[in-house]
């Protein structure tokens, strides 16, 4: 079943009709499954409430993504992600929003945008001052300090060219793509990207996923019946050649070397790659790489500890749906959903399909527990960005998904609401309908979303990319008395961003593991400060495993604060959460 089934497949013209209609091997994969029955609502109160404060915060620029009424090519429909980052190290989250474009009629105001946090709930657009004014088709972002100078750098994927921006430490960035050896001679449709110190040398390497091989000279434009669609919708991904995924090794001198072949990344079936996550799924101390693939089996590159990887998603149970089918893998949320000290994977998909929950046995073998966990009740929407975040600070990571149609031509299905699954514990979730605030009910065609505490008040807020609209900034106002703890890590021997560090927190009777990631959701990068809701617990024990393997334990850390921990140096300072009026 393909997306064409959403439209009804036109009868094939016969005889003199000069048949020009869609092909069976087109579109995005959807299993066409019905939603599972909803269980009785738990009746528990939900203490988080989300309000969209984007306009009052000054986030008013539209994110361009194709024409509002149509999409000519997949390159318009698939963008884009965003990042919460602290580019100026002032302790307040800033925002990077990527942009898409319009084919043949580019929006003159479209640009990637950097917003500086004014520390009062508002932001200032500093794009131009920062040297980031740039239009084009951008998709993914990863944030990390690749040169270990103490300031976060940016890598952006796009069609036709990816870009590495070095943070100059003075509020500006410099495009160093060419100097770094990352300029590619031919256009690519790159999507997922993640910094990862795969060889544990203390320098951040770079993995880049690609979607399809796209050439506007050969791929038909939407708008009239073509070889992809009788309805004149855009082509892809099925029927188009795969993109190829790339791994670049950081040479430690500001340059990178393509090690794709040597590392075994080029060997397996490739697939239509989207979001990429680097994390230690088998808990062996070495980062692995998982790629959500659209309409093809997703990929799990297991780190062999010798500079190479082996693709193991099929054998580890993380490639397909429960019934063995390919799914339209878009976004990823990584979390310890069952509080067992292992990283589980939630992957988002097309409508008429469920998100999938791969539960990790702690050694990197996954079981698909989507149905049993209560997640199969929602199949109405095309889901993109996702996060595993403890939205109400009750000590259990919840799930937040953003949704949106891919065909502006189908307006009735184009703008759709956000989805929250509350974690009930014991591996069970329930979808919350109508009780999490207007910011959740609002309908948009959304893509990336990022999670972070932009107002430093101790709860998780959410920034969402909306197509051809300004973004949504969902301020979370948590009521009640639940506690939380945030942890920011700084590597010394390990990479400065501490990407790949694993933190296990024990609070009350719970244990929860998180890792510092540099991409998840949909092509996006979350706040690198790890957020642990603690429920009623007033303190917690923290165990840190740094990327190079060193372990550190912090006992009885008080809730209600952000702690800064430096590798080998313990807590260097802490900041109490602000209590907002």
């Amino acid at each position: 079943m393909t997306r064409r089934s959403l439209l009804g497949v036109a009868a094939w013209p016969v005889l003199r009709a000069y048949c020009q209609a869609g092909s069976a091997g087109q579109g995005m994969a959807s299993r066409g499954v019905a939603a599972a029955p909803r269980r009785r609502f738990s009746g528990l109160p939900f203490l988080a409430r989300f309000t969209d404060v984007a306009a009052q915060a000054g986030l008013r620029a539209t994110v361009t993504a194709g024409h509002p009424a149509r999409a000519d090519y997949a390159i318009e429909a698939m963008s884009c992600g965003a990042a919460f980052l602290d580019y100026d190290n002032d302790g307040w989250l800033d925002i990077l929003l990527l942009t898409g474009s319009r084919f043949g009629d580019p929006d003159p105001n479209a640009s990637n945008r950097l917003y500086k946090n004014n520390r009062d709930g508002t932001f200032t657009d500093v794009t131009e001052k920062a040297g980031l004014l740039r239009s084009g088709y951008f998709y993914g972002v990863t944030v990390g300090d690749y040169n270990n100078d103490g300031f976060d750098d940016l890598f952006l994927t796009g069609w036709e060219q990816n870009v590495l921006y070095r943070n100059n430490g003075d509020g500006t960035f410099t495009d160093v793509t060419r100097q770094a050896g990352l300029l590619h001679p031919h256009p690519r449709f790159s999507t997922g990207c993640t910094f990862v110190d795969y060889n544990r040398d203390g320098w951040l390497d770079l993995f880049v996923a690609n979607y399809v091989t796209f050439d506007p000279l050969t791929v038909p434009r939407a708008g009239k019946p073509n070889e992809c669609s009788a309805q004149g919708l855009f082509c892809g991904p099925r029927g188009l050649p795969y993109g190829h995924h790339w791994l670049y090794r950081n040479n430690g001198d500001g340059t990178f070397r393509d090690v794709t072949d040597a590392a075994g990344i080029a060997r397996p079936n490739q697939g239509y790659g989207l979001t990429a996550v680097a994390a230690d799924f088998d808990n062996d101390g070495w980062p692995d790489i998982y790629v959500a693939c659209d309409s093809t089996p997703s990929l799990l590159f297991r780190n062999n500890h010798d500079g190479t990887f082996r693709e193991v998603a099929l054998e580890r149970g993380a490639a397909l749906s429960e019934d063995g089918m390919e799914q339209a893998g878009m976004g990823l949320a990584i979390g310890d959903f069952r509080l067992r000290g292992a990283l589980d994977i939630l992957k988002t998909h097309f409508s008429e399909d469920t998100p999938v929950l791969y539960v990790n046995n702690g050694h990197g073998d996954f079981s698909d527990l989507t149905s049993r966990s209560g997640l199969a009740v929602e199949t109405r929407y095309i889901c993109w960005g996702a996060g595993a975040a403890d939205l109400d600070n009750d000590g259990k990571p919840d799930l937040f998904l953003v949704t949106g149609g891919i065909y502006p031509e189908l307006q009735d299905r184009y703008r759709t609401p956000r989805v929250i699954f509350r974690n009930l514990g014991q591996g069970q979730f329930e979808e919350l309908l109508g009780i999490a605030g207007p910011g959740v009910e609002a309908r948009h065609s959304s893509r990336g979303c990022v999670f972070g505490d932009f107002d430093n008040d101790g709860d998780v807020d959410i920034l969402i990319v909306n197509h051809n609209e300004p973004p949504s900034l969902l301020r979370n106002d948590v009521s009640g008395s639940n506690n939380a703890l945030q942890i920011r890590l700084a590597g010394v021997a390990s990479n400065r961003s501490a990407i790949g560090a694993r933190v296990t927190v024990r609070y009350g009777a719970c244990v929860q593991t998180q890792e510092v990631l540099s991409q998840s959701s949909y092509l996006s990068c979350n706040d690198r400060r790890l957020h642990f809701g603690l429920g009623a617990a007033v303190n917690a024990d923290v165990e840190i495993r740094w990327p190079l393997g060193r372990s550190e334990e912090l006992r009885g850390v008080a809730a209600g604060q952000l702690i800064h921990v430096t590798e080998g140096g313990g807590i260097t300072h802490s900041v109490k959460f602000r209590r907002l009026a």
Partner: protein, 393 residues
């Protein structure tokens, strides 16, 4: 379902020998007797003889058409049953038999009109109500389907034939996420027909959805016992066992599912997972390789499909510009990439006929009809071509 089509013929037989024309139906009663005693060949020969002698005998055509339906002879069945309907348009049985034939040959759109007529003629005709419900279900109209199925279930009360509409109604419930209602209908269905494997299999799925692991297992085991060659039931049972941590027990069912359909990727994936869980990594890797090959083949097929349509569209453009030879070559190239595509084949056939290549054109149209027997436009085109053969040399 075999037991359903047998029931259908039984129904026709009953009507014929007890209906108002029974006194004139002696030979047909004989045919029916042959049929009941398993002498199908004799029954068919007798019915054909009756039709030869009395071409306007609707009952003979009705019974013969129903036999052809059961034997899968689509064209013969539709011809006889259409004629039966023409001869006796007020017969709900004839209308129902024609609709049922279309349903059996996967043409629910064609089935709809005769079935609607059957229900209008005889509102309490349970078989027609159920068939119409089934047709509408396949046409994606679950609300209307449900109402006809409900009426059929009410008419059938507690009869064994009521199992089938209950089974269909359960599918509607499942599609709407109402597993409890589905399970209730399926429980009733298997009570009415304990030998209904598909109902047991769906009951297993419904119970699994409801979290009733032991009930799911029991139902699926029953389904497999009744229909060991049902790949879906075997796969479902294997999956349930694997989910319950019984990897070793699941193996035989996945293996059976793969034996029945070696390219079933669900079963292959289940098998490789089960083998791995059962600590047989080597065999699991072999199955995984097959699965990977399947994905590669699908990808190649997808790409061929897009390329074929591109070539086809180029051919269409050439044809529009008057270059029929160029168009034919494009269509041939397209068909080589995507031989299952009946639209491309139809375009090739038409171009061939227009360039006087009658024999190959007709043969291509026949091939389209073999793949798509319900394509009325192509059938008309074939008839048109056959009525204008090239002059003999």
């Amino acid at each position: 379902m075999t037991w359903r089509s047998r029931a259908s013929i039984l129904g026709i037989g009953f009507y014929l020998v007890t209906g108002p024309l029974a006194a004139q139906q002696g030979p047909i009663e004989d045919a029916w007797t042959f049929l009941r005693s398993g002498q199908r060949g004799k029954a068919v020969a007798l019915l054909q003889e009756i039709i030869r002698q009395h071409p306007s005998n609707p009952d003979a055509r009705l019974l013969l058409g129903s036999i052809w339906t059961e034997e899968g002879r689509r064209d013969d069945a539709v011809t006889e049953l259409t004629e039966a309907v023409r001869l006796r348009p007020g017969s709900a049985e004839a209308q129902n038999a024609l609709g049922e034939a279309y349903l059996k040959f996967d043409e629910p759109e064609s089935a709809r009109a005769p079935l609607e007529r059957a229900v209008k003629l005889q509102p309490g005709f349970s078989a027609a109500l159920v068939n119409l419900g089934a047709a509408l279900l396949r046409l994606g109209e679950p609300v209307a389907a449900g109402s006809y199925l409900d009426r059929g279930i009410a008419v059938l009360k507690g009869a064994a034939e009521g199992a089938y509409p209950l089974y269909l109604r359960a599918k509607i419930h499942m599609d709407r996420g109402r597993a409890e209602e589905a399970a209730a209908d399926l429980n009733r269905a298997v009570k009415l027909r304990p030998d209904f494997p598909e109902a047991w299999s769906d009951l297993g799925e419904a119970r699994r959805t409801l979290g009733d692991d032991s009930g799911a297992l029991a139902a699926l085991q029953r389904a497999v016992a009744l229909a060991p060659d049902d790949a879906i039931a075997q796969y479902r049972l294997g999956s349930e066992l694997l989910a319950q941590g019984k990897a070793h027990d699941s193996l035989e069912h996945f293996q059976e599912a793969v034996r029945i359909d070696p390219s079933d990727q669900s079963a292959l994936n289940g098998l490789q997972r089960a083998l791995r869980a059962a600590d047989n990594a080597q065999a699991a890797d072999q199955v995984k390789d097959k699965l990977a090959a399947l994905f590669r083949a699908k990808n190649a097929e997808d790409r061929n499909s897009v390329e074929a349509i591109r070539l086809n569209n180029e051919g269409a453009a050439l044809e529009k510009g008057g270059d029929l030879r160029g168009a034919i070559q494009k269509y041939r190239d397209a068909l080589a990439l995507c031989p299952d595509h009946t639209g491309i084949r139809t375009n090739l056939a038409a171009a061939l006929l227009h360039t006087g290549q009658w024999s190959e054109g007709v043969s291509q149209l026949r091939e389209v009809l073999r793949r798509e027997p319900g394509n009325g436009k192509v059938r008309a085109a074939l008839n048109e071509a056959l009525s204008h053969p090239p002059p003999l040399r």
